[in-house]
């Protein structure tokens, strides 16, 4: 589905992404992990058109999409969420979702003025769909709340909800789990798997919660210092020495025990 070749993105002299090559297979749920500052978000931003690459190419289904603006990529079926939630603060939650689908009739002024019937019908359909999504995310009671006035975790849910409003080909999720209650996260995980299985979405997921990654993702790619460090199944990556050293660490358990004794 996505083929990233030799991609680099520099900020001044700093190489946030430094010649990374990776591919995301069609129909997979690919995990992307790596230490803070490894360049994961930057990679997403370049692929999704938010940043221009310094060098390298990105292909989607064989087509070169390097440097295309985000809105065009959206219409090609590439969606993304943001690590720091980017809600539309002055709009209600349900409006936040309803605005997502592309090519709405009512977004053309002419229709808004002179084909009001058709627009109204379309709106009804969208509203029902949006309500369903909100219900699924357990925040349907917030439908009419302004998005600026919901909790941090709820914002992340809304962020995820937007990807569910349209038929995407590939969805990039940047740490949807951070700040989301773990029980709910499990439900989200299920939803991702279901969208993947039933609707054939391809996912690429950045996450620091290894349980979540373990449950969802195959394969897993680990980045470090702008490059791909390791790639493989969850277990392979988890047990990779370099990954452990750079990212996972040796675990907390021992220290807690020490603490308890001390």
């Amino acid at each position: 589905m996505i083929e990233v070749k030799n991609l680099s993105r520099h900020f001044g002299g700093f190489r946030a992404v430094d010649g990374a090559s990776l591919s995301i297979a069609s129909g997979s749920v690919t995990g992307l992990i790596g230490p803070n500052g490894a360049g994961k978000t930057t990679l997403f931003n370049v692929v999704a058109g938010r940043l221009k690459p310094t060098s390298g190419t990105v292909q989607m289904a064989g087509e070169d999409i390097t440097g295309l603006p985000p809105h065009e990529l959206f219409h090609k079926g590439l969606l993304r969420t943001f690590q720091i939630a980017h809600e539309f603060g002055s709009m209600s939650c349900v409006e936040n979702l309803m605005m997502v689908p592309g090519a709405q009739q009512g977004e053309v002024l002419w229709n808004a003025w002179f084909r009001r019937g058709a627009v109204r019908a379309e709106e009804e359909r969208l509203r029902v769909k949006a309500q369903d999504v909100l219900k699924f995310l357990t925040i349907d009671h917030l439908a009419d709340q302004k998005a600026s006035q919901i909790s941090g975790g709820q914002k992340k849910l809304l962020e995820l909800g937007r990807t569910m409003m349209v038929d995407a080909k590939i969805v990039f999720l940047d740490e949807v789990g951070a700040g989301v209650n773990r029980t709910l996260l499990n439900t989200i995980g299920d939803a991702i798997l279901r969208l993947n299985a039933e609707r054939g979405y391809t996912f690429c997921v950045i996450e620091h919660d290894m349980d979540f990654i373990g449950r969802l993702c195959n394969p897993v790619i680990c980045m470090a210092e702008g490059k791909v460090l390791a790639q493989g199944t969850v277990d392979e990556v988890k047990n990779d020495e370099r990954v452990i050293e750079a990212y996972l660490g040796t675990g907390l358990k021992n220290k807690i025990k020490e603490a308890a004794h001390g």
Binding site: H86, M91, M99, V100, G102, A112
Partner: protein, 438 residues
């Protein structure tokens, strides 16, 4: 309507009634012709405010080039409806057109070269050469033609002259002219953020004005065009018409007052029709998915872009629409004034005062713009007597002397001072505007 409803349906009506009462009081206590005069300009101001609201309230574009588009609307009245200047076109019309085409071709060629040539030295050099050579050819063709036109009876004409068409046609043309210029501006400057866009548009408005003031061949520059045709009859003509005099006396009206009231009511009708049409279009747009998309873009461009909305294009669209509305209002105002005086356009009056209307009315709310337009314009006109009155009250207790004389002499400055105080009071008690977005 929903916006108003959300703010409490009572509040909107109450405020509307309050403003209506202000005008009614003006009619009763001062004179009805004056009240109508203020109403007419208030209608025009409301349309200008509506245009600004479309740009700022809908899409968050901090454009303060309002004055420029008002002036362009005014120019369209001269171009469309003033009478042709004898000999003006023959003197250099073709040369001017050719020169302008040459200028446009130069810019087009430069843009094309910038796109085609490989990045680097050659490109910079190529574009620079095209621009410089083009500039000199442009001046070589353009300058003599302009001189010829401007030398054609400068005291009375000195310009190409208008088409002599009905003045009402100038209104849509004003909108189109403003839209066309807005397109060119939008293409270059809309990438800028917040206050940077503001100063850029402020500057562009000054540039438009500089052109209007200094290109005499266009609209006589600072020499002004006066006595533009009217869409309604002249009062003096009514006063001379027997039918009118009979009608007036049958109702027991004084013919002079009656004539000016009738004429002003005609303007009111025309302006109100335009305002209502625009308001309807604006409301329909705002409360549609289009409006929702605009609000999304205003809230968060990055996210809207990721959700498939072409932010750049939408910004351009809304910038053009808003500018067109302002251009129409500009043409209406020049029609009402009956003259184009480029020297009289100042940012304070035609940009910031309009912004005050939008903000006081409640940005993002179309009815707010209308309310703001009416209220602020009424104040703008009436603070003068209010300020003078205040000063009289202030000084009444004082004994004669230097201070009293000084204060009375300064009374005129109460005008802006009072305006400031009132503005602060309104903002203080309705910091989100009188009719908040919701």
């Amino acid at each position: 309507m929903t916006a108003q409803a959300a703010a409490g349906p009572g509040r909107g009506l109450l405020l509307a009634a309050l403003v209506a009462a202000l005008f009614f009081a003006t009619g009763m206590l001062q004179s009805w012709t004056l009240a109508l005069l203020i109403v007419n300009m208030a209608l025009v101001s409301s349309i200008m405010a509506l245009g600004v609201n479309i740009q700022w309230g809908y899409a968050g574009l901090f454009s303060v080039g309002t004055m420029g588009f008002v002036a362009l609307g005014g120019l369209s009245v001269v171009l469309v409806s003033s009478s042709p200047a004898p000999g003006g076109w023959a003197a250099g019309g073709p040369g001017i057109v050719l020169g302008l085409l040459m200028g446009a071709a130069t810019i087009a060629a430069a843009v094309m070269a910038a796109a085609k040539l490989p990045k680097g030295r050659t490109r910079t050099l190529g574009v620079a050469v095209i621009l410089i050579v083009g500039f000199f050819i442009f001046r070589a063709i353009f300058d003599p033609a302009v001189q010829a036109v401007e030398a054609n009876n400068p005291a009375a004409h000195g310009n190409l002259g208008g088409l002599g068409l009905p003045v009402l046609m100038a209104w849509p043309v004003g909108g189109l002219l403003a839209a066309a210029v807005a397109w060119a501006i939008g293409k270059t400057a809309l990438g800028l953020r917040s206050d940077y866009l503001a100063i850029a548009t402020l500057g562009i408005a000054e540039i438009i004005l500089a052109v209007l003031k200094n290109e005499d061949w266009l609209g006589r520059g600072v020499k002004n065009v006066i006595s533009l045709p009217r869409p309604v009859p002249y009062e003096v003509d009514l006063q001379r018409s027997q039918a009118f005099l009979d009608w007036a006396s049958s109702w027991g009206f004084d013919p002079i007052t009656a004539s000016s009231i009738v004429v002003r009511l005609m303007y009111t009708g025309l302006f109100a029709a335009v305002l209502l049409a625009l308001i309807w279009l604006s409301q329909a747009a705002l409360h549609s998915p289009w409006g929702r998309m605009m609000r999304a873009i205003r809230d968060n461009e990055v996210s809207a872009e990721a959700m498939g909305k072409d932010v750049t294009r939408r910004h351009l669209q809304v910038f053009i629409l808003g500018s067109a509305v302002i251009g129409i209002a500009g043409a209406m105002m020049t029609t009402l004034d009956g003259q184009l005086t480029p020297g009289s356009y100042s940012p304070l009056r035609f940009t910031f005062l309009i912004w005050v209307m939008v903000i006081v009315g409640g940005s993002g709310n179309n009815w707010g713009s209308v309310l703001g337009g009416f209220l602020i314009w009424w104040l703008w006109v009436m603070v003068e007597p209010i300020g003078n009155g205040l000063m009289t009250v202030l000084t009444s207790g004082m004994s004669d002397g230097w201070l009293k004389a000084h204060l009375i002499n300064s009374a005129a400055h109460m005008r802006l001072l009072t305006m400031g105080v009132i503005l602060l009071l309104v903002l203080r008690f309705a910091p989100k505007g009188l009719l908040p977005e919701r």
